[in-house]
């Protein structure tokens, strides 16, 4: 029922552009307001500036190292253009690492006060007194922020491609372009996960500061401490290679990897590096027999996508879970003006 309303909303939205007399459905009016709120806010301008700097910085390092990185007869040399996104000399991280680090920040900052600011500004009960379904509010918050994020990422990636084109003069091949687009979609999914997490906290916590801090704490935990903790545990429980059979060692390795993949950032890094480095053939441990006889060739896009499929599914599932939780909490809540 609600879906049907939203679809007609989309069509109405389209006709509005052609004909001003037609009415935009309330849902898209809300999305429109969200988008314009975000775009006009200082918060977004600062984030966009930060992202712009990131792009320029990583582009600069990758281009200045490009000459050294290309070796003749390397399987990677066919994917010259992708180097723009992955190369780094260690001083400034490459583009995809930057996104992995800053993406959460963008997601969090666009969502942490989504619901509680409306509540504290005492506008929520006024909006819900209008003839709109309650879920419109939370859906519009999500869709609005997602649109802003998508547009920003598309613009930035295309800018990097454009600058790269001008500076190195070699156009990307079709597969390279597709790989970059897949990377872009993946980044958006990744940021959407953090967006949903922060919306969840904005529903749960009355104070925007509490919700922001909680999100940032989770982000820091997963990007700094989680890896350390996993490393410590791995060291303590690792079977000794002298006693344990190779199967046991591999099993243990897989277990540790499984744990580290609970961190969204690990999923994102795994997936993006596979997409942007076509020579990556597996994300788990490979035995020597598996490697034996393999020609060091880059994988086709389809095969790379197959490898990262679990990671992508995991990220989407996490994002959907967060959204479902916030949806549930929000729908069950009683809307008081104070």
């Amino acid at each position: 029922m609600i879906k049907a309303v939203q679809f007609t909303g989309i069509f109405k939205g389209r006709t509005t552009i052609a004909n001003r007399e037609k009415v935009l459905s309330p849902f898209w009016v809300m999305v429109q307001k969200e988008v314009s709120d975000h775009v006009m806010s200082w918060r977004f301008i600062i984030l966009a500036a930060l992202m712009g700097l990131t792009c320029m910085g990583s582009l600069y390092t990758s281009i200045s190292n490009l000459g050294r990185a290309i070796k003749p007869n390397s399987p990677e040399s066919a994917f010259f253009f992708l180097k723009l996104f992955t190369l780094s000399d260690g001083t400034i991280p490459s583009f995809h690492v930057f996104i992995g680090f800053l993406g959460p920040l963008i997601g969090i900052s666009l969502g942490f006060d989504a619901i509680n600011s409306e509540q504290n500004g005492r506008t929520l009960s006024r909006i819900l007194a209008q003839p709109v379904h309650r879920d419109y509010v939370i859906n519009a918050k999500f869709i609005g922020a997602l649109i802003v994020i998508s547009v920003m990422f598309f613009a930035l990636t295309l800018l990097v491609i454009g600058f790269g084109l001008i500076l190195i003069g070699i156009p990307p091949t079709a597969t390279e372009f597709l790989r970059i687009m897949c990377f872009l979609l993946l980044s958006i999914v990744y940021v959407a996960f953090w967006l949903n997490l922060s919306i969840l906290f904005s529903v749960r916590f009355r104070q925007a500061a509490t919700s922001a801090l909680t999100c940032i704490a989770i982000w820091l935990f997963f990007s700094v401490f989680y890896e350390m903790i996993i490393g410590l545990i791995a060291k303590a429980f690792a079977p000794s290679p002298d006693i344990a059979s190779p199967e046991q060692v591999i099993k243990f390795q897989k277990l540790i990897q499984g744990f580290s993949r609970l961190a969204p950032r690990q999923l994102f890094t795994d997936a993006t590096s596979t997409l942007l480095l076509p020579s990556v053939r597996s994300l788990g441990p490979l035995t020597f027999s598996q490697m034996f006889g393999a020609v060091p060739n880059p994988l086709p896009l389809g095969q790379s996508l197959l490898i990262v499929w679990p990671q992508v599914t995991g990220l989407i599932a996490a994002a959907v879970l967060c959204f479902a939780l916030s949806y549930r909490f929000f729908m069950k809540r009683e809307i008081r003006s104070r």
Binding site: G121, R122, S125, R126, A129, Q130, P131, E334, S337
Partner: protein
């Protein structure tokens, strides 16, 4: 035959232990201004929330324009304008933009929304502030903008939750006059919740008294007071001269004389009870006994400063109910 536009049947809402609304039965008719009266936490706001489908009743049914707000809240919200208690607007948008946004949420196209918003701003006297950010509005202006906000959807019913809270007396008067005017001109049904008795008294056709989740009485103010004060419809207040410093020039002991006066007054035919608050003596009686009372006081040798005949207001009605509640 009047038909109820809002109907509550056995409406109940519980929060854990507390029963916020307890088997409420109430009908409100088209075109009247109904006041929900009661102290804080009596269940007024909860009733309003249930009426709009913003919270679900535990049992009982609310019907608004024949629609059940629990199952089809959107239909109800098309017909009901709700001004929440302590309403807020988007501070970084202008008054006009705020109104236009709400108008568009109600399905008006952009150009019509603007037109309508300007009309309403004029109506509530905010044209000059139309392009000012609402963050800079005063409390009274916010409340008036709230009224415009409620009216923009052309409602059949408007619900105002504590609309006069935090506005200065002059603003309150203007605001209430505006509500009455609107109600009469457009035939709107108005549901007003408040704990400011005087204000409600000024504007409401009928009131309902809420005490801890129960509607204890309803009706117009005159019928409420006759029902409550049936035995003693008149209060006469006599201001007597008592010099608190003890330098009174009365020839005998003051307290005894006052007590004596009280007894004398009580013994008069038609007097039900006598109460004293410092220099004021309140005499509750069946008939208008002002002249006889004046005579009695003067004869007893006490200076009479003034004599006032009072009618029962909501204050007294309210007071009376609470006395009863406490006795229980």
């Amino acid at each position: 035959m009047k038909l109820p536009i809002i109907e509550f049947t056995d409406l109940t809402k519980k929060y854990d232990q507390l029963t916020a609304v307890d088997h409420l039965n109430l009908s409100i008719y088209k075109g009247e201004i109904f006041g929900l009266l009661g102290p804080n936490g009596a269940g007024k706001s909860t009733t309003i929330l249930m009426m709009l489908g913003l919270t679900e009743p535990d049992s009982g049914i609310a019907k608004v324009c024949g629609i059940n707000p629990t199952t089809s809240p959107v239909e109800v919200k098309k017909k009901v304008g709700y001004l929440p208690d302590n309403v807020g607007f988007y501070d970084d948008m202008t008054g006009l933009e705020n109104l236009v946004y709400i108008a568009r949420l109600n399905g008006l196209p952009l150009n019509m929304a603007k037109e309508k918003a300007m009309q309403l701003l004029e109506r509530v006297g905010l044209v000059d502030a139309a392009d000012k950010k609402t963050g800079k509005y005063s409390r009274g202006m916010i409340q008036r903008l709230g009224l415009a906000d409620v009216l923009i959807k052309n409602p059949e019913i408007i619900v105002l939750d504590e609309p006069t809270l935090g506005i200065d007396p002059k603003g309150v008067k203007e605001f209430l006059d505006l509500i009455v005017q609107l109600s009469r001109e457009e035939g709107l049904t108005v549901l007003l919740s408040s704990h400011h008795l005087h204000q409600v008294q000024q504007v409401c056709d009928r009131v309902g008294l809420f005490v801890s989740g129960k509607l204890i009485d309803e009706g117009d103010i005159a019928s409420l007071s006759t029902r409550l004060f049936s035995g003693e419809p008149f209060i006469i207040e006599a201001g007597v001269h008592i010099n608190a410093n003890g330098e009174n020039n009365l020839p005998f002991n003051l307290e005894t004389s006052i007590t004596g006066l009280g007894n004398k007054l009580l013994n008069m035919d038609g007097v039900k009870s006598v109460a004293r608050e410092r220099e004021i003596i309140k005499i509750f009686c069946e008939r208008d006994l002002s002249s006889a009372i004046a005579k009695t006081i003067v004869e007893s040798g006490i200076d009479l400063n003034c004599l006032v005949k009072r009618e029962y207001g909501l204050d007294d009605i309210y007071q009376r109910y609470f006395e009863k509640e406490e006795v229980k």
